[in-house]
Amino acid sequence: MTPQGEFLSRLMRVALPGFAVLALAYLILPSLIIVPMSFSNQLYLTFPPPGWSLQWYGAMQQDLSWPQAAVNSFLVGVPTALLSVALGTLAALAVVRGRLRFAAAASAFLVAPMLLPHVIIAIGLYPVMLDLGLLRGYLGIVIGHTVVAMPLVFITVSAALRNYSESLELAAMTCGAGPWSAFRHITFPMIRMGVVVGGLLAFATSFDELMLSLFLTGPGTRTLPRLIWEQMNAYLTPTIAAVATLILAFSLLLLALVALLQRGRAAEGQAS
């Protein structure tokens, strides 16, 4: 290598990781600002907070709309996850194993709702839900969230299916397993991880989703993101920081769960 080459490559060896560290810091810091802020003893948003207090967690507890919104987010998120898992798994099975001629087009269609702007879907679903009488109820928002969350399950389950050879199911068939038996005994155990991760991703999507919730929920079914949004536009107090910290903790729990599941899977694969 030329001396310039040497210098350049040594520069790269230092500069690149250094840059990466900066970028990753940029990524993580904002999330971390919230936490100390929620313990502020001030009445307005400051960082760093000059003093510490739990007043905002108290305020949050007293305002009844927060627990209600949290419950709603779960009442919407869990059914969304389940419905997304059901639909997404069916879709993945059909597209990856079905040997259908239009599989590529179907795949593009099934993924689209995740990629297109939620606002368009929202203003489209509003009149539809109105006509169906589902506006402001739980079913309406569950359907809306499923539309945008199902593609995620489709992607993760498809990936799990592509991860092993189709000949396993063919072998099961030659062993006398009908379609349901083959799914139950062979396919599902192999894709179980993809299904669970997809379900968690679907739940997280619903839990964090704002736009559809703005259009499709009412005061009784208001989810957390919507409540945060309304409060944020009304009064910017650190109560929101307290809520945000709790949500952050919960999200991290979910993330840890997913990471654990994936590591467990990998370890299982290594041990045997």
């Binding site: 072998a171 099961a172 030659t174 062993c175 038996s181």
Partner: protein, 362 residues
């Protein structure tokens, strides 16, 4: 226990414009070990897949013991199948893998236990029931696959290049095991492979496919000694093929022109060919005698220079150049006293007229 009788009638498969399998007829006797061989894309996997039920044929019938199974799903055809990549269920133990077909057919657990143990003994894997497939070697995995395919006494056993993923020594060992296994269970076996050696070692009869068509069916020796065309002749073993110039000779025993002033003599009959298709002379390398010096008198005497010498496991193969357009492969098992001819040496070749086969080009 006897295997099923398999008959394929007019079976064909078309993917749009492409015909993967031309209308095919086959008859496989009960308990026969029948091989399907051919280059890739010859349609052998399509044929096997149709019999298994994974490929929906475009037309034709598949008769197992007289009943047409074309509309029957694979899980009711009562076949066993062994795949090239073994297709063992990774999340199940060896025992559960082999027990799977029995469980699918709702057998009693006592019977399941007994049968699985019997199969494990038969494939010499006793005591390995608790292991996972990832803990087994390739050869062991293939034996589990065999056991699983045969555990419920299927009448028809299909094998799709089962030894393709194994190295050579292991392959030969497994070939012997498969042969023995077949004798023990007595099912009818349909065996797909691209390795003609393997097919010859294992099967009672072979069907050679090319471009979606069955070209010839017969016992290994019959196919080798009486190939029906140049493709079969060169696919099974090696063949020296010469294009014959000029029209068909009027009487037998006439010398055949193959160009370069070389004439070959034969005692064979001119084959019946569809409207003047080309005919080739075919001489097997082991029928040719190689001697020092100049051409001896007698039938089919030629001279040439040795271009290449290969010795492999007791077999000596020479490539001899006779002239610019003619090279001949000679093969024999040298006795310990015989010396290896050197490259560049002038040698004489000869063979009996009877060994010059006449076959159609296509």
């Amino acid at each position: 226990m006897t295997g099923a009788q398999l008959a394929v009638q007019g079976l064909y498969k078309r993917y749009g414009e492409v015909q993967a399998l031309a209308p095919t007829d086959l008859d496989v006797a009960q308990g026969e070990f029948f091989a399907l061989i051919g280059p890739s894309g010859s349609g052998k996997s399509t044929l096997l897949g149709s019999i298994a039920g994974f490929v929906a044929p475009s037309g034709g019938r598949i008769l197992v013991d007289g009943a047409d199974v074309v509309s029957v799903p694979p899980y009711r055809r009562n076949i066993g199948m062994v795949f090239q990549n073994y297709a063992l269920f990774p999340h199940m133990s060896v025992f559960d893998n082999i027990a799977f077909p029995l469980r699918m057919r709702k057998a009693a657990s006592a019977e399941i236990g007994a049968r699985v143990e019997r199969m494990l003994a038969m494939v010499r894997l006793q005591g390995m029931g608790a292991r996972r497939s990832s803990q087994l070697s390739g050869g062991q995995q293939q034996r589990v696959a065999l056991a699983r395919a045969a555990v419920y006494d299927p009448a028809l056993l299909l094998m799709d290049e089962p030894l393709g993923a194994l190295d050579k020594n292991l392959r030969e060992e497994m070939q012997d095991e498969i042969k023995q296994f077949h004798r023990q269970i007595g099912a009818t076996v349909l065996y797909v492979t691209h390795d003609q050696d393997e097919a010859a070692r294992l099967s009672d009869r072979i069907a050679i496919l090319d471009h979606g068509r069955v070209v010839q069916v017969g016992a290994p020796r019959e196919l080798y000694e009486k190939p029906c065309n140049a493709f079969v002749a060169s696919f099974l073993g090696e063949a020296n093929l010469f294009a014959i110039q000029g029209a068909a000779p009027a009487i037998r025993g006439t010398a055949l022109e193959i160009g370069g002033g070389i004439r070959l003599s034969t005692t064979r009959r001119w084959p019946d060919t569809a409207n003047g298709a080309a005919v080739m002379a075919c001489v097997r390398p082991e029928a040719i005698r190689l001697t020092e010096g100049t051409a001896a008198a007698g039938d089919n005497g030629l001279e040439g220079v040795i271009e290449d010498v290969v010795y492999s496991a007791g077999l000596l193969r020479y490539r001899v150049r006779v002239n610019d357009s003619c090279q001949i492969t000679v093969r024999h098992h040298p006795g310990p006293a015989m010396r290896t001819a050197a490259i560049g040496e002038r040698v004489a070749l000869s063979w009996r007229a009877d060994d010059t086969l006449l076959i159609p080009k296509e």
